[in-house]
């Protein structure tokens, strides 16, 4: 019987089984940012413990970064204190930091793959739940809390419960206008926001095989929204082609040797899974969330469920009340006030290209505030080389600096009052985008662009077809 990638990576990184039934795993790559680490370094200092492998930890800054005025010190003194703490801690412990003055700075889950730090067969940890993103390259990546950040700094290892593996096979071809974002929203809708608890999700099938790394990153990113702490795609030629030549990828002959190892850690054809789910790609349409968790979504041609929906236990009614939406109404035509293209889910070059393709030569509706926030300085520069910034500006979008921005609104970009936001981010939780009464509709970047133009939720397929 063959093994899954998860089992192979797990076995390779096992330090020792613990008497508790957990396994102590070596962490190959640790990524840090300003929000979840200052307390971890303070705990280390208080205990007189050093950083075990400073060359296996890399820092950047993303969550609190203003996307307009980045002059230091920041006007927001709390944000300034956080970045200063990160600078101090990285300097004290010899940890590389890509700060605002570096062309490598960006959202931690964008720059890891971009720099080739993220590689197949690695174990990765970061104090952020969207660390699952890195699984797109065949890594096993865990989101962790601050005390665990401390533990990785101290010991380069963590204790984990065993994980089951659910293979999710998406077979067939996606319709024009249907994207990786729609696939993961469909998966979460079907399996639920806690369907993945205790599991790693292995994504495969012909639709995933055909996807670019950017698209796979989008899918793995939202594994945690389905309750799965870990999500991954087996490494293949697409993965190797993506990594070749990146700064931290192996170079020259070492790259070819790495490829043969990377191939070997993919799940075996006869691997045994704890569960298998099949999804037909042709059944997926562009999806939009209507509620307050990422499972609450419908296809753009569908209607919002009614408050008495079966098995909803009052959750639908609560969501509809918060969202100010009526059950039974079509989701299409829902008015939006803000449009946000960005976040670790959908802020890569291909995401911006898809949104720009829709926006090109059009105008954002007069009542909509629309912003595009690239995921990294590298994405920003590449987009500007292609003239995407001008396409967006001409259409009435604001073009901003790189960071997490309005995904969680720890910087000045936030919703006001009960604004409704078409967003390419990952969470539609109450208050997520910075206003306690602000409302989020999750969708693909192309769908966000379409909503920005129409001033309401629109079907991006209509625009694509009209132009063909």
């Amino acid at each position: 019987m063959g093994k899954t990638l998860l089992q192979k990576v797990w076995d390779l990184h096992t330090v020792r089984p613990l008497s508790t039934g957990q396994t102590q795993l070596f962490i190959g790559l640790h990524l840090i940012h300003e929000v979840t680490t200052p307390q971890a370094f303070d705990m280390l200092r208080a205990r007189g413990i050093g950083v075990a492998f400073p060359d296996r930890t890399f820092g950047t800054t993303d969550h609190i970064i203003p996307t307009l005025d980045q002059v230091r010190p920041f006007q927001d003194t709390l944000a300034e204190a956080m970045l200063s703490a990160l600078e101090r801690n990285c300097a004290e412990y010899d940890i590389p930091l890509w700060n605002l003055d570096s062309d490598r700075q960006g959202i931690v889950h964008v720059i890891g793959p971009e720099l080739g730090l993220t590689q197949p067969g690695m174990t990765i940890a970061c104090g952020d739940s969207h660390t699952s993103t890195h699984g797109a390259l065949g890594a096993v990546a865990f989101g962790i809390g601050t005390s665990q950040v401390r533990d990785v700094l101290a010991s380069q290892s963590l204790a984990f419960d065993p994980l089951k593996v659910r293979r999710i096979a998406v077979n067939g071809t996606l319709d024009n206008g249907v994207f990786a974002k729609d696939v993961i929203l469909e998966i979460i809708h079907r399996l639920g926001v806690q369907g993945g608890v205790g599991h790693a999700y292995e994504y495969g099938g012909t639709a995933v095989d055909q996807m670019s790394i950017d698209e796979r990153l989008t899918i793995c990113n939202m594994s945690i929204e389905g309750g799965a702490r870990v999500g991954y795609v087996n490494p293949d030629q697409t993965t190797f082609d993506y990594l070749r030549g990146r700064p931290f990828a192996p170079q020259g002959d070492a790259f070819d040797r790495a490829v043969s190892w990377w191939r070997s850690i993919a799940s075996d054809a006869d691997a045994e899974y704890d569960d298998v789910v099949d999804i037909a790609a042709t059944e997926i349409e562009p999806r939009v969330t209507w509620g307050i968790n990422p499972e609450q979504s419908v296809g753009v041609s569908q209607r919002i469920p009614g408050p008495g929906a079966a098995g909803s236990n009052g959750a639908v009614a609560e969501a509809l009340e918060f969202m100010g939406l009526s059950g039974g109404m079509p989701i299409k035509g829902t008015k939006v006030d803000v449009a946000f293209v960005g976040s670790c889910t959908n802020s890569r070059l291909s995401d911006l290209r898809e949104a720009a393709r829709i926006a090109k030569g059009q105008r954002v509706a007069s009542h909509v505030k629309a912003l595009v926030v690239p995921g990294s300085q590298a994405v920003l520069a590449a987009a500007e080389r292609e003239g995407l910034d001008q396409v967006f500006r001409d259409a009435g979008f604001e073009w901003r600096g790189a960071g997490c921005s309005m995904c969680l609104a720890m910087n000045p970009d936030r919703l006001e009052g009960n604004q409704m936001c078409a967003s390419s981010s990952n969470r539609n939780f109450k208050g997520r985008q910075g206003s306690p009464t602000g409302r989020t509709l999750l969708m693909s970047p192309a769908m966000v662009a379409a909503a920005a133009l129409a001033g309401e939720v629109a079907d991006v397929r209509d625009i694509v077809q009209r132009r063909e």
Partner: protein, 197 residues
């Protein structure tokens, strides 16, 4: 590294109804903008409390509560340890729910806040009870895997390793992970991407 052992948590309980209560609701992101966890207890469920005047965390009857009663998938979403930190700093010493998200449960363990589960029926019964009589004393015992109300024990679930960690005061993992550091170095020297391809 040895910490305070935890077995029995006795006190009143606070009913927090609803499935999938996420960590953004427990502690909104704007309160993460700090370099310590100090003061987080003041902002527990701040936005939910503003929206719901009768929120249990605002209700004077529950201000002494030490145990949270929760429904399904409590603590989903963000990995922010600030969520269990805020609950603990408010005065919560144990969470009893139908289920918890994985990262929240791990973060809670790391700071010495046990999360135990009970059946949906038992949770519903306990919630009704403390809604009717907020001062009802509960005694949650990790060693006995039970919560006792009015002399009647109700079974609760806690994973073996979590229970042992609390009972022996070893819930802070740093010491355990550093126990055999040569082995960690050994793994580092064998993984191909560190050893070199």
């Amino acid at each position: 590294m040895s910490n305070r052992a935890v077995d029995r948590i006795e006190g009143s309980a606070l009913p927090l109804r609803g499935d999938n209560i996420d960590t953004d609701r427990i502690i909104p992101a704007r309160f993460l903008k700090a370099i310590t966890f100090d003061g987080l207890g003041d902002h527990v469920f701040e936005d939910d409390r503003a929206a719901m005047p009768h929120h249990p965390f605002s209700n004077p009857a529950y201000q002494q509560a030490r145990i949270i009663l929760a429904n399904d998938n409590f603590g989903s979403g963000s990995s922010r340890e600030h969520a269990p930190q805020a609950l603990k700093r408010w005065g919560i010493d144990a969470c009893l729910g139908e289920s918890f998200s994985e990262i929240f449960r791990g973060n809670a363990l790391a700071i010495g806040l046990p999360c135990a589960t009970a059946s949906p029926d038992d949770i519903a019964r306990l919630m009704d009870l403390v809604e009717n009589t907020p001062a009802t004393p509960l005694a949650l015992s990790l060693s006995e895997r039970s919560v006792t109300v009015d002399g009647q024990p109700v079974g609760i679930d806690v994973e073996d390793h979590v229970r042992d960690a609390f009972l022996t005061g070893t819930w802070d993992a740093t010491g355990l992970l550093l126990d055999d550091f040569d082995v960690v170095r050994g793994v580092a020297s064998r993984v191909p991407y560190i050893r070199g391809f």
